[in-house]
């Protein structure tokens, strides 16, 4: 992206979760469900002396994309690291379940999930994990009828159980700012040691888990610029393509075979990983 483009583009990352949903839906079509003024907040955070947010960090937006019924689930990365608790999890799972029900009743509803999340909210551990499992099941149910498109724009990225949810999506869109991984850098450093994985070495972290690397390794479908128009266009394109013949998650054996070939006795380079995955998945 050159300087002129940079000045002209409308940044998607700089939008808050609600504005992101509005930007992806057709103008004037957005209707929020279980909105902030319904005040369905986390009962568990308050008990632990933590200030709650009125939407529990999840925006459920119903509307249309190119005239077709669509539900957008947008996570608030700023609130508790975009962590998923009981309420936020139920909002996402419930909305996906209703979209699948719509499809069974003749309304072909699609879904987009905007992942900005560190995964489960530790203060609501078991309930959050149960909710994430429900989200996984709901994605697999809905993607039989219509595409479920995941988008991780950044800057939080997508980790933990929600990275599995991202892996289950029909299509996955990221930007270079996004990161995608099961464990976050700090957790890996804590478990494997700083010699193995230095969480403060940002170029190193992004070179392995950043959007560009994940795209080059076949773990996501598109790596786009931080631009509202481009993200909207890419999303619309995947919706038009419809349900893919084979979902990425159905190719788990191929991915496992790639991973088995990695020489763990020495530090791999991002380039080696790209080549290995490209060869193994082609």
């Amino acid at each position: 992206m050159n300087v002129d483009d940079l000045l002209q583009r409308a940044s998607f990352i700089e939008l808050d979760a609600r504005s992101r949903a509005r930007a992806l839906l057709d103008a004037g079509s957005m209707r929020e469900l279980i909105g902030p003024f319904d005040r369905v907040t986390s009962p568990w955070l308050a008990m632990q002396g933590i200030v709650t947010q009125s939407d529990d960090g999840v925006v459920v937006a119903k509307g249309t994309v190119d005239g077709h019924p669509t539900v957008v689930l947008s996570m608030v990365g700023e609130f508790q690291g975009g962590s998923l608790g009981e309420v936020g999890g139920a909002k996402i799972a419930g909305a996906l379940e209703l979209a699948a029900e719509d499809n069974r009743n003749g309304t072909p509803t699609r879904a987009a999930i905007l992942f900005e999340t560190g995964g489960v909210r530790l203060q609501e551990a078991n309930l959050g994990l149960a909710a994430i499992a429900e989200i996984h099941a709901a994605i697999v149910d809905l993607r039989r009828y219509q595409p479920v498109v995941g988008i991780s724009a950044g800057t939080v990225g997508c980790f933990g159980g929600m990275s599995i949810a991202a892996g289950l999506c029909s299509y996955l869109i990221v930007t270079r700012e996004a990161r995608l991984g099961l464990n976050g850098p700090a957790v890996i450093e804590q478990e494997a040691g700083v010699e193995e994985y230095e969480s403060r070495d940002r170029p190193f972290i992004w070179s392995f888990t950043g959007g560009e690397q994940r795209y080059e390794s076949g773990l996501v479908d598109a790596c786009v610029e931080d631009d509202v128009a481009q993200i909207r266009q890419t999303l619309g394109g995947y919706f038009r393509q419809g349900v893919p013949p084979i979902h990425r998650s159905d190719r788990q054996e191929d991915f496992l075979a790639c991973m088995a070939q990695i020489d763990t006795t020495r530090q791999a380079t991002p380039e080696q990983i790209r080549q290995l995955y490209r060869k193994g998945l082609s």
Partner: protein, 106 residues
């Protein structure tokens, strides 16, 4: 976590609901809803204890000095500085005024 409540005189009821901000580090969320004419209430939930004097002074400066629409305000604060608090409240009041102007035009 501390909860503080305030009551101020106000004008006519606010025309609609407004939400600004986010409960992120150093930021806050302001939920503004219409209230009965003549009365504005502010309920503050803050992660920082022992700052009641600062809240009182700041909110008095905003709500006691001018005739503002009657609102029921809820603030969920995650350690915002007084400057940020003021900006978020002003942002909510500004959105209220802008929506009122748009309503008159249409």
């Amino acid at each position: 976590m501390e909860k503080i409540e305030y009551d101020y005189p106000a004008g006519a009821p606010a025309a609609q609901r407004v939400l600004t901000g986010v409960v992120g580090s150093g930021d806050l969320e302001v939920l503004l809803e219409p209230h009965d004419a003549g009365r504005t209430t502010v309920a503050v939930n803050t992660s920082v204890d022992g700052m009641k004097q600062v809240w009182s002074a700041l909110l008095a400066r905003v709500f006691a000095s001018a005739e503002l629409p009657a609102c029921k305000i809820e603030i969920n604060d995650f350690g915002a500085t007084p400057g940020v608090v003021r900006i978020r409240i002003e942002q909510a009041l500004e959105a209220l005024r802008e929506q009122a102007v748009e309503g008159q035009r249409s």
